[in-house]
Symmetry: C2
Subunit: 307 residues, 2 copies
DNA sequence: TAAAGCCATTGACACGTGCAAGTAGATGCT
DNA sequence: AGCATCTACTTGCACGTGTCAATGGCTTTA
């Protein structure tokens, strides 16, 4: 009953032959005493950690519920590889918990961000963006928006950007993609139109926009939340959607079917990406270097009453 | 330049006097080599973990965005105590990562749930519900809804319950609280009325409800999402809110101001609770036993156009 | 000068685990 | 009997850290 014997039994070491009587004695004692192997000691000994650490900085406001969904399903997918995803929100100043020893670190910042190198140095484990090739992913949705509106016969578009400054970079990417899609379709480029969070202010902004561009007949919103604001503002202004102006969002927000009129939107299927990315992370955790799969660069319209 | 000397310098041990020259030499070498203390070894040595593990089972669908908000702000509050909150979603079958060694484990299940004892045995660290006294917290919002509707002159109420079975227990608590508030106000008890997720089905359900109870003039919705569905169904049925029926939700969802009409709702202020609960968790992490603060059992109305 | 005291530094250990290497004892083969 | 082979188990080490007790050099005091 030395420690080694116990260890052989509990780890089912096939190179050691253990008679059944001893085996049972060890198992009984282990169960009776409620023995649990102590994680830190195993790690110190050199065991591979089963922890994958997800770090997110900016997406607190649940606004990025698409990212939240990806993270959730990624956690489920990683569990099938024997890995455990834990999520640390708002790890601003790189004061991440040093005493959890992850096998892999994922971050919400895009590839190429200096934070990735910083984290890599700090943890000395593989660090990857959880959203590889994010720009193309973001751009695809805006392109799909424009294509859908054009297919519905709309020609004079505006791009409804959010007023939150932290979303500015993302909005710029999508707006450029909308421009490119408009150019490809041979219609005028959609001009930018900022939507305040406040409903009354949004109504005023929409009125001003229509005064400046009376021929406007379609709005691509940055995401569904901006689209909700536009719909509310339009109703307040007496603008009829979609007969006067069509409105389309991005993300397929669960509340989209409930607006008046129900919101058309655009969606990317990320299930395959999540599966592949989980496998990629499992490879990294196993010590193999590998290139990550990319987020889909295709999006499809979810047409409803607002277009 | 032995390991001990280095350790004394890096941990600023005040019981040891280290001459400045040696101190600098150690610091320089440490910085040059990019030394990071290895978490698992510190824990094995007996250091206190700075990790607080939050486990959630059911609240994937972002439906419980109130819980999500509490968790987020709790993470920020704990950081001020030098603790790091990490969040493992959907830890169903208790297969939680054993190799992260938390100082405290928090769970989304209410006090008294057998899972708490199970986790306590598994981790052998303090385990607490992150939502202590949850029932009273849930009940308070329903009471506030009824009081608000009564103050607006409504007398014949219905309780709009969600159709998702996993929310049934919570809905029952709130419905009972609504009954109690109605009894206290001297009006008939609100009868239950189930709202399907699908908009068309919700419209049919609302029509049937009105046919059965033509005198209905107010609806307490289980939460804002159910209220959104009710508003959409009402619009589809040609029912005018609030002149014919007033509708009020729960949670102060960020999209509430954007519905047509803007949704009245009910909210509890949890900032004080979060602060106190963070301090409580810090006590637990320091090894002191302590009773947790309780979630507020008061809620206040956020009146908008729908009542 | 020797005894005593202070200061900087160091060797050694413990924490819990997993595994390589080694050791008895039993059995088989010649 | 003598030697090889197997089984059943043990000893011992390493992982990286923090801290106690001990060491040796140097200065002060009697």
């Amino acid at each position: 009953m030395s420690r080694a014997t116990v260890s052989y039994v509990l780890n089912r070491d096939s190179r050691q032959s253990i008679p059944e009587t001893t085996r049972q004695k060890v198992l009984d004692a282990s169960a009776r005493l409620g023995y649990r192997p102590y994680g830190p000691a195993r790690l110190l000994r050199g065991a591979r950690s089963s922890v994958v650490l997800m770090l997110t900085q900016g997406l607190e406001h649940a606004s990025d519920f698409v990212a939240t969904g990806i993270i959730t399903s990624l956690g489920a997918a990683l569990r099938q590889h024997g890995l455990h995803l834990v999520w640390q929100l708002g790890a601003e100043e790189c004061d991440t918990a040093i005493d959890l020893a992850p096998a892999v670190v994922l971050t919400s910042v895009p590839d190429g961000d200096p934070l990735i190198d910083e984290l890599s140095e700090q943890f000395s484990v593989p660090v990857r963006s959880a959203f590889p090739h994010l720009d193309a992913f973001l751009a695809a949705s805006a392109a799909a928006q424009v294509e859908h509106l054009v297919a519905r016969g709309r020609q004079r578009l505006a791009y409804a950007a959010p007023s939150r400054p932290e979303l500015g970079a993302t909005a710029a990417i999508r707006h450029r993609a909308a421009d490119a899609a408009a150019a490809a379709a041979g219609i005028p480029l959609p001009h930018r139109f900022e939507v305040p969070d406040d409903r009354a202010a949004a109504g005023a902004a929409l009125r001003a926009e229509l005064a400046a561009h009376p021929e406007l007949d379609g709005i691509c919103a940055f995401n569904d939340e901006v689209a909700f604001t536009v719909l509310a503002a339009a109703a307040d202004c007496g603008i009829v959607v979609p007969s006067q102006i069509a409105v389309i969002g991005v993300d397929n927000h669960p509340l989209g079917p409930l607006t008046i009129p129900a919101l058309s939107t655009v969606e990317s299927d990320v299930t395959e990406f999540v599966t592949q990315f989980a496998a990629h992370v499992a490879q990294l955790a196993a010590g193999e270097a590998a290139e990550p799969p990319l987020l889909p660069d295709q999006a499809h319209a979810v047409p409803r009453a607002s277009t």
